[in-house]
Structures are given as C-alpha cells and as structure tokens.
Amino acid sequence: MVSVKLVNINKKFSGTTVLKDMNLEVQDGEFFILLGASGSGKSTTLNIIAGLEKATSGDILFDDRIVNKMGPVQRGVAMVFQDYALYPHLTVRNNIAFPLKMRKASKEFIEKKVGEVSNVLGLEKYLDRYPRELSGGQAQRVSLGRALVRDPDIFLLDEPLSNLDAKIRSQIRVELKLIQENLGKTFIYVTHDQQEAMSLGDRIAILRHGKLEQVGSPMEVYKDPVNQYVAAFLGEPEINFFELTRNSNMYSSEEIILKGIEAEENEITAGIRPESIKLKKERDNDVEIKIKIQTFESFGSYSVIIGKARSGKEVRVRLAEIPEIKPSTEMAMYVPLDEIYLFGKDGNRIGKK
C-alpha cells in the first residue's frame, strides 16, 4: 500500500524539456490516470515513477520515502506495457513465473503463485502456449498476470489497451477496473484515450507539453474544466467553440448571442458541449443557434449531427435519440445558458462556477 508523490520533477532530454515542474500526488489505493496527447510527457512521467528513467531534477517519494536512486525492483513496482512485452521464447507459464525466478523463489512457491494468478485471469488453458499463439486480449492478460504475480505495491500501466481491437478493449477495460477495485492497490495508468480515462480513473491528471493542466475526478474535470485545452480534450465528440466579441451589454458572434454574462475581456470564447445542444427550447434564457445539417452519424444508442452554423463553422450535436432529419435542412437548436463555458483569451476559464 503506497502513495506516490512527485515534487518539482523536471526532465530534459538532449536539450528539450519533456517535463516541467511536475507536482503530483497519487493516493494509496487510487486508480490514477495520466491523460495526454502524444508528446505530452505522460509516458516519461510513468517511466520516472517506475525508475526506468531518471528525472533531471526533483524528487520522487513513495510513502514519503525518497526513491530517486532506486531501481524498479527496489521501488516494488510492476508494469504493463502497450505492446505487452512478453518474452517470445517463453511459454505463458514461464512468462508469468519470470519475475519470481529472477527473485530466486522456490519452485513450489512459483507454481502456487502462477496457479493463483492464471486462475484469476482465466489463463489456465493457455499456460503452455507461446506468446505468438495468443490473441491480443490473451497476451494483455498474460502481461497483467506477470505484474500480478509479484504482489507489487504499485501497478504502472502504459497504454495497456491501445493495441487491442475496439471490442475486446472495452471488455478488458472493465476487467481491469474490477481487478483494481478488488486488489485495492495503487494503479497509475497512462493513456491518450479520454474515454478510457473517464471510465477507469478515480482521478485524472491531464498533461500537455510536459505540464500538468488539471487534476481531478473524471466528472470534475469534465464538468468543470480549468481551460479550453482540458474542455476540448474530454468528451466525444469534441466541444464546440465560438469566438465572441463584446457588443454593448452582450457578447455575440455570427452564430450565437449571449446576454447577462459577466466578463472583463472584450473577446471571449464560448464552449458548448455537443450534448448540451437540444432540439427543443426548454427554458426562456436558452441560447438559440441555427444549424444547417451536413451529415449525421448514428451509433445505435446515440447519434451525432455534424452541421454548419451561419458563419460556416462546423458544429456537432450529440443526441440520445436517432432523429429523423435530412441533410441540408437548417434547424434552430437551443443551449441552456448555464451549460456554456466561457474562456478568456489566454484559454483559461472565466469565473469558474
């Protein structure tokens, strides 16, 4: 049972700064997500926590113990890799047993542990197979098994699902969540997929260019983003942005008019989530927006309208139902005023609710 703390971590790699003054606290037993686009430094952060890479400056603390100079084994971490990183020349059994063999554990102990782990993960049937004979999902389970077998204090997972087919991915995602809840151990999980982050994480840290943008529970960061970047990163389809200019006592653009808004700047950006746009007016102060339907995507359980506002700007609307609409028609749609986010010129949220 371990908490992890990063204090002022900096990482430079041949001149370029990969991480910049990273301060992070992961609670004991938490499912913690490092979310970011490629190049955001999320994997580097994970590797530094693992002890696979060294920070240029700053401290890593495990339970208030500085572990800067320890290797992965001394830190007691286990890791699951994106490409599974199974040993191709070893059977599933020996892959899972490998960490124990390196520790020179007794034969009986190894056998017992491998049996337990393969039981939990449903791998009994595959113990004598080689990695090349496994499907992606099975390989990922073996990789998880190799981590579990050591009873580590912390699990580090580096995009463990991104090489899997969409179908198996959501299945293993749930398995992973249940395993973590059962073990009650600290998981630190790297991903670029906001959907994965939202569904798995107790808390999410959003990284951008080696800097931390926001940390919080999934619904916190989704409902209350600190800036435009975070608002755009979470949610599918992406949030719609409109650039507004002050016009006497209101802010307006070609697409929408906002009244009764308090802001200091003359130019602000309004963010409207696709699911906040409704087909019917519900309240008096709902904001109207006229959208010309271009095409729409139906996903069975929901649908997305891709349309153009008067200005030619692309707007997306997410509906729980599958509407009966034809391309090229123009429709008036409505947004509750309190579901509109406002951002200043620097991208930061104005007047957090």
């Binding site: 992965p72 890791m79 040993y87 490998f98």
Partner: protein, 274 residues
C-alpha cells in the same frame, strides 16, 4: 502485379542462381569425382577407375590428421573469442549510450572487412616480440579479433530487433543486465548467433594466411595450411589433393546441417508475413 512481371522477375532470379551454380558447382563436382579417381590428372577428361586409395594415402600422414585437429582447435577457439566478446560489445552498442560511442562504432566499422592482409607482416613482427609467434593461442586471438567487427555488427543488429519494452519488462521483473543478456537477449538472438558461429567457424577454417604467417612448426599447422604446403611443395597428385579438399569440407558441411534451420530463420527475419 501482372502475371508477366512475376514471370520476368522469377526468370531473372533463376538466371542469377544458375549462373552462381555454374561457377561453383562444376568445380565442386570435379573435386568429389577426382577424389575417387585412380588417375591423378588435372582435366575433366579421364578419371580412370573408382578407388579409395587417395583417401588411404592422405590419412597415412600423421601431419594430415594433426592438421585437422589443429584446424578445429584454432577455428573453434577463434569463434569462441569472437562470439563471447561480441555478445558484450553488441549488448552495450545496442542498448547503452556512453561517451565516445560513435567513435567506437566507427572504429568497429572501419575494421569490418579491413584488408588485414596488409597488416600481417607487422603483426608477425609484433608477435615475435610478445612471444605469441608460433603458438595456437596467438592464432586463436588473431582469428577471434579478425571476425570480431563483423560479428559485432550482425549481432548488434539482431539485438536491435529486440523491443525496448521487453528489456524494460526484464528490468522491472528484477533481472540484472547480466540476467537480461542470458535470459532474454541470447535466447531471442539465438538463430542469429547460431549463424554467426557457423560463419565465424567457416571463415576461420578457410583462413590460410593467418596461420601460415604466424606459425612455423609443421605440427601446429591447420588443414588449410597443410593442404597448401604439402601439395604446393612438389609435383601435385591431384586425386590426393581432391581427397584432402573433400575432407576439408566435411566440418563445414556438418555444421551447416546442424545450423540449417537457424540459417533459414535468420534469413527470414523481418520477412514478409501477409
């Protein structure tokens, strides 16, 4: 691709290989036939009758038998030196970044296929000074070092194929670099290493000038030198020369048969799957 194109490229391949075969296989056949010939001539005409007498004759010589032994000792010794040193050097080149790495790589590359011939005279002088002249160890060291650059090169490429994440997994799983080499790198690169053992052995076994220049005692000569000095000295019995050549090829053939499956594997590495 159009069917004709496939045909054209296939035909090109066949021509290339027939050409190769032509230049290699005809002399190859001659050697086999001549070894069993009663007439020791040099042409392709009259071989006389089938006889094993050439083989009896060469094996009567104590030095011939000794030269096979010497050849095996020196060739395997040199191979062992190359492989062991190459494993460490390749691991370091493949996985570590350290000062002067590029300079060292260039040094290795420079000596890959360097015309060693031009260095043999000074090496002879040097060996006399350090008392390695006319010793098996001296020959083994030079043979080992001669093959080292190309062995490092090929082995490093093979180590490079091993994904970084597997190495990291081994680290996280608690393997030391030494354990990682033993338990991960060597088994995964084994097909290539088997091929390198074969190639190094063949090169050493076929190396004539290194032992010729660095050895003076007849009882230390490997078979390559023995064949040359024995038959080069006076009027040549071609059927005995051919028989000796056949014997000379046997270790290579045996190793080749053992390494066959690794050869095909190594040849197919990174091959097209789809």
């Amino acid at each position: 691709m159009k069917t004709e194109d496939i045909k054209i490229t296939a035909i090109l391949a066949y021509i290339t290989l027939i050409f190769l075969a032509f230049l290699f296989i005809i002399p190859f056949v001659w050697v086999f036939v001549e070894g069993f010939a009663s007439v020791g001539n040099i042409g392709f005409g009259d071989f006389g009758t089938f006889t094993l007498s050439s083989y009896y004759a060469i094996f009567r010589s104590k030095y011939f038998v000794l030269s096979i032994e010497n050849g095996l000792i020196q060739s395997f010794g040199g191979t062992a030196v190359s492989i062991v040193l190459a494993i460490f050097a390749s691991y370091v080149f493949s996985r570590k970044r350290f000062p002067l790495r590029n300079a060292l790589i260039l040094t290795v590359l420079f000596f890959t296929g360097f015309p060693v011939f031009s260095l043999l005279i000074p090496m002879y002088v040097f060996y006399q000074n350090v008392n390695l002249y006319n010793t098996q160890v001296g020959v083994i060291l030079v043979l080992g070092v001669l093959n080292l650059p190309i062995t490092i090169w090929i082995m490093k490429n093979s180590f490079d194929q091993i994904p970084k994440s597997i190495e990291r997994a081994a680290m996280v799983d608690g393997a030391s670099p030494y354990q990682t080499i033993i338990h991960v790198f060597l088994p995964l690169a084994f097909p290539t290493i088997a091929v390198l053992i074969l190639l190094d052995f063949i090169t050493n076994w076929g190396n004539f000038y290194v032992p010729y220049i660095l050895l003076s005692s007849r009882h230390l000569f490997p078979i390559a030198v023995y064949i040359y000095t024995y038959f080069g000295a006076y009027s040549v019995k071609y059927n005995e020369l051919a028989a000796a050549s056949v014997i000379y090829m046997i270790p290579t053939l045996i190793l080749y048969i053992f390494a066959q499956k690794y050869l095909i594997k190594a040849f197919s590495v990174g091959g097209v799957k789809g």
